[in-house]
């Protein structure tokens, strides 16, 4: 079954060994689909923040949230799908024959990316933004021949003063 709906949830967890395994195990066991998952430190040393993009409908979101909340090491689960700033970082190694270099640099500038490595016949381009922007850029690069792509997965934060 293909489900088009997606949610981004932010999960505040205790920064302890095994927590990632616990969260991943829960998703596998309950049959939830992870599209991307990132983990990083937060303003507090003892807490980590996971940003998880989940495939599914409202019912899946409700169960994911409730089941995550049952994990002892999960402090807080919030839906950050709406009204939030979402960013992802992507590195792309793209073919750059001399006659195409100008074009690639120009496109990179338009997307406010950066060339972070230059080899004889390829660039590594770094680009950040929301998912659509990165997808659009990758599409453009296909014309030159993409050799490798590495994406971080999404991090997100709700806009405004609220947490």
């Amino acid at each position: 079954m293909v489900i088009d709906m997606r949610f981004t949830i932010a999960v505040l967890v205790e920064n302890k060994p095994g927590v990632l395994a616990r969260v991943a195990s829960l998703f596998r066991r309950r049959g939830f689909n992870i599209e991307s998952l990132t983990v990083g430190t937060t303003e507090r040393e003892d807490l980590s923040r996971m940003t998880i993009v989940v495939n599914g409908d409202e019912k899946v979101l409700e169960q994911v949230t409730k089941q995550l909340n049952k994990l002892i090491e999960v402090i807080k689960v919030s839906d950050v799908s709406k009204d939030s700033v979402e960013r992802e970082l992507c590195l792309i190694r793209v073919n750059s024959p001399p006659e195409k270099r100008g074009e690639i640099i120009e496109l990179t500038n338009i997307f406010r990316g950066r060339i972070v490595d230059v080899a004889r016949d390829s660039f590594i381009v770094e680009i950040t933004g929301d998912e659509d922007k990165i997808n659009a850029f990758i599409d453009l690069m296909r014309a030159y021949g993409i050799k490798e792509v590495a994406r971080t997965g999404k991090v997100a934060m709700v806009r405004g003063g609220k947490q």
Binding site: P17, A21, R22, Q63, K66, N69, K70, I72
Partner: protein
């Protein structure tokens, strides 16, 4: 102080009276410390028996059950018992030995990643990596196992951790950032529930295992009387109200009575308490109680809306919420509905053929002869017949493996229940297949003088599976005949040092029961050689709604 000694002292502080377990290399240090303690230890003959016994102890007593096992195979043998406790929300804490920290990850002798293995079947688990955290973890383990929605917790203790030197400072309270169970129901939701109850013309209470866990039997019965509403129970909910109470319709679902299933299906309001709407209870949810609004009271928010739609969710402790609900509703007679249910009850009683030697007869008579006994069951036909024909009088009287459906649970669970309640008669209503799965615990019962009674409905088959093959697989009896009618359980019992009796016909049943009663202090195995063709009816065929319940032969 040696960490192992501090650990045992911590168990004493937690009020642990008995531990079920088996020693081994990685847990030797702890067993050495246990030698100086007053805590009773019962060495089971298999670690699965230890975890089931701890589970049975917990269910009979309401206290936390404790099991010990060594690393590797000892630990992996506990897995079924842990999964069983998890599915039925039973508070147990399992302590396993682990290889020394320096060896972890090296595939050392008797090393198994038991925290990894049990992650999806525990409420929480720990690998103790720092001896200084050991006592805090013990405290947390008991707290997590017994509060909120209870469940099993596993603590894996590496050998060198138990050998380390630590201070004995047992924490007085637990601080867990991410764990704060909610006990009080939301007043607004309680008000909404009361409104629905007052409006309802055909209300019914569906009581699950949460009622027992919350010790809410009194409150449930009082609310049922105050509305008044009939009560149906899930298998786990048996005992939520006395089954001799006029409002109790007994257990519902795949093998519940017709009248209970009809009443639930045609109600216009279901007040579900501490149940999770399992598929065995609801039948096909597409046809589940189509006209009913649903109030769902449960301590676990994740259960609400998981399997069926809910109109009024109330998250919290059943005992509190039921008492509050009772205060805000008032008595309203619903004559039409009462008459209808009474009519169903008269028209469709539970019944079975009296020809030959029927297992139902044994259970019905056991209920007459031992009305106050604690009953455990194995899993399969024996379990369903017990649920149908053994009428439960008081809370915690009926102990059965519901969610996981673990054959081999009943006997070690009976052992645990007997240890918890030595003054009660404890009977395992068993099948031949199930009893064989943990029969080794007879040695434990004889050795420690734990006089449980085992009644085997011996039909020589894995009966429930055979029944499905008969009904749904064109009588192709693949692999279900186990030939136990030829096994002498009498001699096996005697071989272990217990009493064994063989009963071949209905007229001998009462005499056997008398022998059982006379031998208060000895384990007794009674082998009832019943008709192998007997099936469990009525039955909701798989995929059907509760209303489509069928009779059999």
């Amino acid at each position: 102080m040696r960490a192992a000694d501090a650990f045992v002292k911590a168990l004493e502080k937690e009020g642990v009276e008995v531990i079920f377990g088996i020693p081994g290399g990685a847990i030797l240090e702890i067993y050495d410390a246990l030698y100086d303690s007053n805590i009773r230890h019962i060495t089971t003959r298999h670690e699965q028996g230890a975890t089931h016994a701890a589970d049975g102890y917990a269910r009979a007593s309401g206290k936390v059950g404790v099991a010990f096992a060594t690393s590797g195979p000892g630990a992996t043998n506990t897995v079924t018992g842990i999964a069983n406790a998890y599915m039925d929300s039973s508070p147990i804490v399992v302590f396993t030995g682990q290889v020394a920290r320096s060896l972890i990850g090296n595939d050392a002798f008797q090393e198994a990643d038991i925290t990894g293995i049990t992650m999806p079947i525990t409420k929480h688990n720990y690998l103790v990596t720092d001896p200084k955290s050991l006592l805090r973890i013990v405290k947390e383990a008991f707290h997590i196992a017994s509060t909120g929605r209870p469940g099993p917790v596993l603590v894996d203790i590496p050998k060198d951790v138990s050998q380390a030197d630590i201070e004995f400072e047992y924490p007085s309270k637990v601080e867990l950032m991410g764990y704060k169970p909610k006990y009080d129901g939301h007043p607004m939701q309680i008000k909404r529930a009361a409104e629905l109850i007052m409006k309802a013309e055909r209300p019914i209470i569906l009581a699950g295992g949460g009622v027992r866990i919350s010790n809410a039997e009194k409150e449930l019965t009082e609310l049922a009387e105050a509305i008044p509403a009939f009560v149906v129970t899930t298998l786990m909910g048996k005992g939520s109200i006395s089954e001799y109470h006029p409002l109790c319709l007994g257990f519902v679902g795949m093998h519940g009575s017709k009248y209970a299933n009809y009443a639930l299906s045609e109600s216009d309001l279901i007040i579900a308490v501490g149940c999770r709407f399992s598929d065995r209870t609801t039948g096909n949810t597409a046809f589940f109680a189509p006209e009913a609004k649903i109030i769902h009271i449960d301590i676990d928010p994740a259960e609400i809306g998981k399997n069926v739609r809910v109109d009024v969710p109330i998250v919290g402790d059943a005992k509190k919420i039921l008492a509050q609900l009772k205060k805000v509703i008032h008595y309203k007679q619903r004559k039409e509905w009462e008459d209808k249910v009474k009519d169903w009850r008269e028209k469709f009683p539970l019944k079975y053929s009296k020809r030959g030697f029927k297992p139902q007869f044994v259970i019905e008579k056991a209920c007459e002869f031992f009305p106050d006994a604690i009953i455990t069951t194995e899993v399969g036909q024996n379990q369903m017949w017990s649920a149908q024909f053994f009428k439960v009088k008081y809370p915690r009287q009926f102990i059965s493996s519901g969610g996981l459906g673990t054959m081999g649970f009943g006997f070690p669970a009976a052992m645990g229940a007997k240890v918890a309640c030595p003054d009660k008669e404890v009977i395992d209503l068993a099948g031949d297949g199930s009893f064989l799965m943990n029969i080794q615990e007879l040695a434990t019962c004889v050795h420690y003088e734990i006089p449980v009674k085992i009644f085997i409905m011996n039909n020589g088959y894995l009966g429930m599976v055979r029944q499905w093959q008969q009904l749904f697989y064109k009588e192709r009896y693949s692999a279900t005949c186990i030939g136990c009618e030829k096994v002498s359980f009498e001699n096996i019992a005697k071989g272990f040092g217990a009493i064994g009796i063989t009963v071949e016909k209905p007229s001998e049943v009462m005499d056997a029961f008398k022998v059982v009663k006379e031998n208060k202090d000895v384990p007794v195995v009674v082998d009832f050689k019943v008709d192998f063709q007997a099936n469990v009816f009525p039955m909701v065929p798989p995929g059907k709604g509760l209303k489509d319940i069928i009779d059999g032969d």
